[in-house]
């Protein structure tokens, strides 16, 4: 369970990114965070695994006060939270397998960490993770030979190999074409339902968010302006989230319907 209690985040240059955020996200929810670029979506997600420090309020993940963690504790805490990025963030010059194995590195004894020789158990776990996202056959191919969609699946497998309770996804489909976007979203949905992993996702495509997520959180200028189940989202609510900027919603609707 993730609890935001009056969370605030002000950047060093004085920009207020988040203010008075109060949210409770239960284990196994599929949450989509929507809003304009710069509204604070990315900051919100990155506070959960301490990629950003909060400047006010309290943030608990499974009864752990995230702000109080230090050094090694942070790293151990992050082991339970997977993260997916818009640009996949893989080492493209090496094989899929080696990228996935990286998620075991912090648990290795020192000599294995230096030499990069992994145990058979770890290798099998990595292969299982690749199997779950359907790219087992690509295990020993170099990442730079895969398509964007396949690369995002490698990233997903890397996260799954961590055996996380929560997956944070920062615009995971923003660099993918519509067809592969849907394939990756299907993977997220499957992981969410079958393994009961919470998914919290920033997403730009409103249409896709409404289709896949159980719950929508709308953010505008650092504040939560909507929080509720997907079926409660109306056009008026979208208008409020996007600050009456209907053009943007309109175009994103059209863009998506054109793709379907």
């Amino acid at each position: 369970m993730i609890e935001f209690i009056g969370v605030e985040k002000t950047y060093a240059n004085g920009t207020i990114a988040l203010q008075n955020i109060n949210l409770t996200i239960d284990q196994g929810e599929f949450v989509a965070v929507i809003g304009l670029s710069g509204a604070g979506k990315s900051t919100l997600i990155r506070c959960i695994n301490r990629m950003h420090d909060i400047t006010g309020g309290q943030l608990n993940v499974d009864e752990v006060d995230v702000a109080k963690l230090k050094g090694k504790q942070i790293r151990r805490f992050r082991r339970r939270i997977g993260m997916i990025f818009q640009s996949f963030n893989l080492v493209t010059r090496t094989t899929v397998m080696k990228n996935v194995l990286v998620s075991f590195v912090p648990d290795l004894p020192l000599w294995r960490r230096w030499t990069g020789i992994f145990t058979k158990a770890h290798k099998i776990k990595a292969l299982e993770a690749l199997d779950k996202v359907g790219i087992l056959d690509k295990a020993f191919i170099r990442v730079d030979q895969l398509s964007g969609g396949q690369q995002q699946r490698v990233a997903l497998a890397r996260t799954l190999a961590q055996n996380p309770d929560i997956i944070l996804a920062d615009e995971p489909i923003a660099s993918l074409d519509p067809v592969t976007s849907r394939m990756v979203m299907d993977d997220f949905k499957k992981i969410n339902k079958e393994m009961n992993i919470s998914v919290i996702m920033n997403i730009h495509h409103v249409e896709i968010a409404l289709e896949y997520a159980d719950r929508i959180i709308g953010i505008r200028k650092g504040e939560v302006v909507f929080d509720g189940p997907t079926n409660k989202v109306t056009k008026d609510i979208l208008g409020e989230i996007y600050g009456g900027n209907f053009d943007e919603i309109q175009s994103s609707f059209e863009e998506n319907s054109a793709h379907v």
């Binding site: 990629m51 942070i74 990025f85 080492v91 010059r93 090496t94 094989t95």
Partner: protein
């Protein structure tokens, strides 16, 4: 004015620029032609040219294939050893220098100074280094290794720097989110990115070093160069022929292997 005419006048007019460049190039050409002189070309030089060709066609087979320390095979092996070890020495020296010259790793003044040093290292001719190192180690292949090492630094470090400055740092963000420490990020995030480029560049330089190593003998720094000079100075062109044939074949083989290896490193 019709549209066609408008377009005609709108066509880019850099004639003056091209004309200036052409005039300068032609002037440089004429000026450099002053160096041409055929006053030393006479009957004897034609005869020598003929002898050289004859030597190349009838190489000294015994020199090429016997197994003593004077044979071409042994000397080629020594040349490879110089080039190989020199490349390794150069690569080892280049890594720290490359990091010191990378503008995304160290402050600007440090990277600028290191780059200046690299330019100076690159510009001093190999033979000068060769003679300097002979003072260190005496006339031996060892001096050749050191020479190849330092001449490789200039180019290797420059190409390593390019790889370092092109590093994809987004990977590090995802490794932070996995919970990796700084050491783990370098070992699993940066090293794999650099390793294949570094290896590819180093193999390429080894290929070039074969040529460098074959001339170091001129100054007594080992390899096949010295016997070649002796043979030439005493007009034993069939010996020169066998040495050159051995050298060219070896260099072509190494170039072929190095191209294959590098293609594999790039494609994976």
């Amino acid at each position: 004015m019709t549209n066609v005419e408008k377009q005609l006048f709108a066509s880019p007019r850099n004639h003056r620029y091209i004309l200036t460049v052409t005039v300068i190039v032609v002037a440089l050409f004429v000026w450099s032609c002053l160096v041409v002189s055929f006053k030393d070309v006479n009957e004897s030089s034609l005869k020598i040219a003929g002898n050289i060709m004859k030597g190349l066609i009838h190489p000294d087979m015994d020199l090429l294939f016997n197994v003593t320390k004077q044979s071409v095979l042994y000397l080629l092996l020594e040349t490879i050893a110089i080039a190989f070890l020199g490349t390794i020495v150069g690569a080892v020296l280049s890594v720290p220098l490359a990091f010191l010259a990378a503008s995304n790793i160290v402050p600007k003044p440090v990277s600028w100074l290191t780059r200046l040093l690299l330019i100076v290292i690159r510009t001093i001719p190999a033979l000068v280094y060769g003679l300097m190192f002979i003072r260190v180690s005496g006339p031996s292949p060892f001096a050749g290794v050191l020479t190849i090492g330092i001449t490789s630094v200039g180019m290797l470090a420059k190409l390593y720097v390019d790889a370092i400055e092109e590093l994809d740092t987004k990977v590090l963000e995802s490794m932070t989110s996995i919970g990796c420490s700084t050491f783990e990020k370098i070992r699993y995030g940066i090293l794999p990115q650099l390793l294949s480029v570094f290896m590819s560049v180093t193999i390429y330089r080894f290929d070039m070093n074969m040529r460098e190593a074959s001339i170091l003998g001129l100054v007594g720094a080992g390899g096949i160069g010295a016997p070649m000079i002796f043979a030439m100075n005493s007009y034993r062109w069939n010996e020169v022929g066998s040495i050159l044939i051995g050298l060219v074949v070896l260099i072509l083989i190494i170039e072929f292997v190095s191209n294959k290896l590098r293609a594999r490193l790039v494609k994976g």
